[in-house]
């Protein structure tokens, strides 16, 4: 059972590091927006996995709030890029 837990930890960590690398090097701001959205989803998944592993329910409201609010970042970035693009034209 602990080997399975170790595999889960390693997979989550490698996924977070690769996503972070895309945020750092991403050529355009939309790449960074997509990668940060993936990182936020991964935070959701890690919180849920931690709840299962440690058998508590304290972070359920955090899960709900992140799922509800997390969209606005990506949408506002997309709108901001649109305005920049129109000004450049």
């Amino acid at each position: 059972m602990s080997a399975l837990l170790l595999v889960i930890y390693v997979v989550f960590g490698v996924a977070a590091l690769l996503t972070l690398w895309r945020i750092v090097v991403g050529p355009s701001i939309l790449d960074r927006a997509v990668a940060s959205d993936v990182l936020l989803t991964e935070v959701l998944c890690v919180l849920g996995a931690e709840m299962v592993i440690n058998q508590h329910t304290r972070t359920l409201p955090v899960l709900l709030i992140i799922a509800a609010v997390g969209v606005f970042g990506t949408i506002s970035i997309a709108r901001f890029v649109a305005r920049r693009d129109n000004v450049d034209r």
Binding site: L30, T41, V52, L64, A67, A78
Partner: protein
């Protein structure tokens, strides 16, 4: 008054989620906990595939294609794992809105980002087989959208 207090305390106890202490007392408990861990592993692998797709694909729409996989399926698997592991109805009542909100909002953000990627020109034009939006580029910005 005491009855009200008792009812309130009962409600708070329920809303906190009085999960049964699952120390694998019965074989069913052990089996359910193992299934929850396997579901979490599948969700983590979906996150890993999204990260690898983000690194290896070339432009924004293809990266978006890879990125939206764990947003819905991975989260559904993780929530299923939470419900299987904690086994209480208040927890399920918390998890259903999470999944529904994510189902409603993940296509929203993906649509906005994809549209901006097309308008910015941050996608490879020669990789498109059909470009039905080509004529909408000539319309002025105030024409809508």
């Amino acid at each position: 008054m005491t009855m009200l207090l008792r009812a309130a305390s009962a409600v708070s106890a329920v809303s906190v989620g009085d999960s049964p202490v699952t120390d694998a007392a019965t074989p069913l408990d052990a089996w359910l906990n193992g299934a929850a861990l396997v579901l979490i592993l599948i969700g983590a692998l979906l996150c890993l595939t999204a990260a690898i797709g983000l690194l290896r694909f070339r432009d924004v729409p293809t990266r978006l294609h890879a990125a939206t996989k764990p947003q819905v399926l991975g989260l559904i698997l993780i929530c299923l794992a939470i419900a299987l592991s904690l086994r209480s109805w208040p927890v399920v009542a918390f998890l259903v809105p999470v999944v529904l909100i994510q189902l409603a909002t993940a296509p929203l953000s993906a649509h906005m980002v994809g549209r901006q990627a097309y308008r910015n020109g941050t996608l490879e034009e020669q990789s498109l087989f059909v470009d039905e939006l080509a004529e909408s580029r000539q319309t002025p910005p105030a024409a809508g959208g």
